[in-house]
Symmetry: C2
Subunit: 420 residues, 2 copies
Amino acid sequence: MNISTLSIGDEVIFGEIVDTNVAHIASRLYESGFQLRRHLCVGDNEPDIMDAIEMLASHNDFVIATGGLGPTVDDLTARSAARATARRLVLNEDALAHLKERYRIMNREMLPSTEKQALLPTKITLVPNPIGTACGFIIPHKGCFLFFLPGVPVEMKRMLDETVIPFILSRTKQKTSIETRVMRVLGLSETHVENRIKELARPREGLTIAYCVSFPEVEVKLRAEGENEARIRELLDTTAEKVREQLGDHLVAEGGETIDTVVASLFRKKGVTLSLAESCTGGLIAARITDLAGSSAYFLEGAVTYSNDTKIRRLQVLPELLEKEGAVSSTTAMAMARGIRKASGSDIALAVTGIAGPEGGSEEKPVGTVFLALAGRSDCTAKRYQFNGDRERIRRMTAFTALDWLRRHLMSLPDVQIED
Amino acid sequence: MNISTLSIGDEVIFGEIVDTNVAHIASRLYESGFQLRRHLCVGDNEPDIMDAIEMLASHNDFVIATGGLGPTVDDLTARSAARATARRLVLNEDALAHLKERYRIMNREMLPSTEKQALLPTKITLVPNPIGTACGFIIPHKGCFLFFLPGVPVEMKRMLDETVIPFILSRTKQKTSIETRVMRVLGLSETHVENRIKELARPREGLTIAYCVSFPEVEVKLRAEGENEARIRELLDTTAEKVREQLGDHLVAEGGETIDTVVASLFRKKGVTLSLAESCTGGLIAARITDLAGSSAYFLEGAVTYSNDTKIRRLQVLPELLEKEGAVSSTTAMAMARGIRKASGSDIALAVTGIAGPEGGSEEKPVGTVFLALAGRSDCTAKRYQFNGDRERIRRMTAFTALDWLRRHLMSLPDVQIED
């Protein structure tokens, strides 16, 4: 059984946006036991959309297309789909009623040009859009079901889950089940990860292992396929256990977990509170921590102290210390951690100071030099790191390293220097 | 002339990562006067990669493929490219020498399995990789040039700029030039934007206008194509001027600028300093501001004050006030802004308090209720907003609204309530 996706939009083909829809659709299909075969992307022009629809319809059982259903003149999907499947374009009364109802709810004036969103091919099944104006639709064509959904991710996701995936499931009899497990590794290169675990793969028994770098992590994906669901699960369970043994404390998260959610659970479970003092990361670590609902239970305070002045006033870092050692130094990092811990009354405090670049480096402390410090009620440790890459990469690597230190601290694991 | 891209990787087709490479390649091609025709994506399996190469080679003059050049067993691109173009796979001495040199520089042990990265098709031209281990390569095949690059974005970008685009430019004679201008709009819906400016498009003269929602902004793209570069530029200049008139102060940024860079330049130009107190955004606004190098010139301090305690201690918000009005209120927002401004000594201060959800809403203050306050040396204003969507969307909308308020304040523009 073949399922492919099609993204339609000049904004994708001209590189103005990163298309996140395909990743979402692919992963939802995967979770439902299907594999995406191909993804194709074309611009907002009729011949290319028609070509793509014809090509994909002849090679697939299901095609999920997104984009080009909007109200503006450059949205050509409905028209092109009609032509590619030899249908007329008509004002769909149900879609029009939906459109009017949405505008009524939003309490907005419906401009005449908006009616265009209800101009759809004949002989279709509508896909309801509970949160937006554009309905989707399904065209059965030459033994293939073509789904057309809006490109707006939040709307597409709802329609995919509520209509498209149930539709596909109801029309397929899967003989084999597929199950996967993702394990996230920090501090080992892709090759090192593979060398430690590759012999665990047993392709003949339906167990494969894939590797993927998601900087700075390496993702390991165990995938089992077979007819017996219980056997698949057991195979994954025993293999995952062996992977854990091989990767040790470099394994930071499994399944739907990330280093952020793992750290959050540890704080909650241990009843430990946290404060942060950030210089070069400028609030990035605080933003990641507070991105999770419920973080207020353990996160007491964050201080973004960019200037020396703020470090002195807010964190009680001594001016003499800044003068002598510099703002980017292990003693300053420790003073920052102690300062915010004392002020916030948190159990532990983490501080970051470094040179994210592109300016500000020196021979002794080049761009990428970062000091982290962790203060507890009676102790304080600092570490120096040297990261590579541009400003964004250095800030990201620093945030991961900080989160990993918190994880190791809360789990009483030994500290490691992360390989860049 | 046709140029298409091909992404190769199970991580893309299984939805484990968002493929950012195509957006980057498309936009770099666009800037060089080319348009991407199609983008195709397949998994790490030989038949699909071979199919894709054959199909794309027969319809294009240039194909830029990324991914699958890594050292692990699931990286199959070189082998599939060799088979698809009837070449043998050999150990490429130049690629091997490069590999050894990279490992020497990184001071890492080269594992035997790594040599696989030098197993490449015969009759190719190597594409140097100045920052990574995997060389790229060019295969001329049936009148098409096939480029193969690593999927690691930072390596791919360097190789694209240093080898691929110059190669394409040297082999094409462009008759027409293409120039584009992107204008970013906040606070108007896509339909409203289109209705204000659509009549400015003149397709017969080579001027088109496209619209794209990048939540919460709408992007307007002016695109001019023709033989006379000076005429194209003039057409864009006069049209952009008319668009500016129509969109007024809803136009937040143009060209390579974003609301972040516009706000940063305003702070620098006006010599105004800023401090922030963030509750529901938890450091997100500070992280955006400090994402830009040089922000230390105007950004003095950020306080992430999640708990009432921290608001009292750090920002001198009165306990009676929190008790009476609640942490999410206009008076608390104003007290937070005044508190951080006074403490940091900044010229202005912005404070955010709100309910990002999914918990914490009430009938009177549902999820999405956000208060912003802006304090100057002698005045302070607060505003209430009601945003829709999930936690991420509410936090993002709040950050944009805060940045827009700063922009309007520094430009002495009237305030507007942003349409959600």
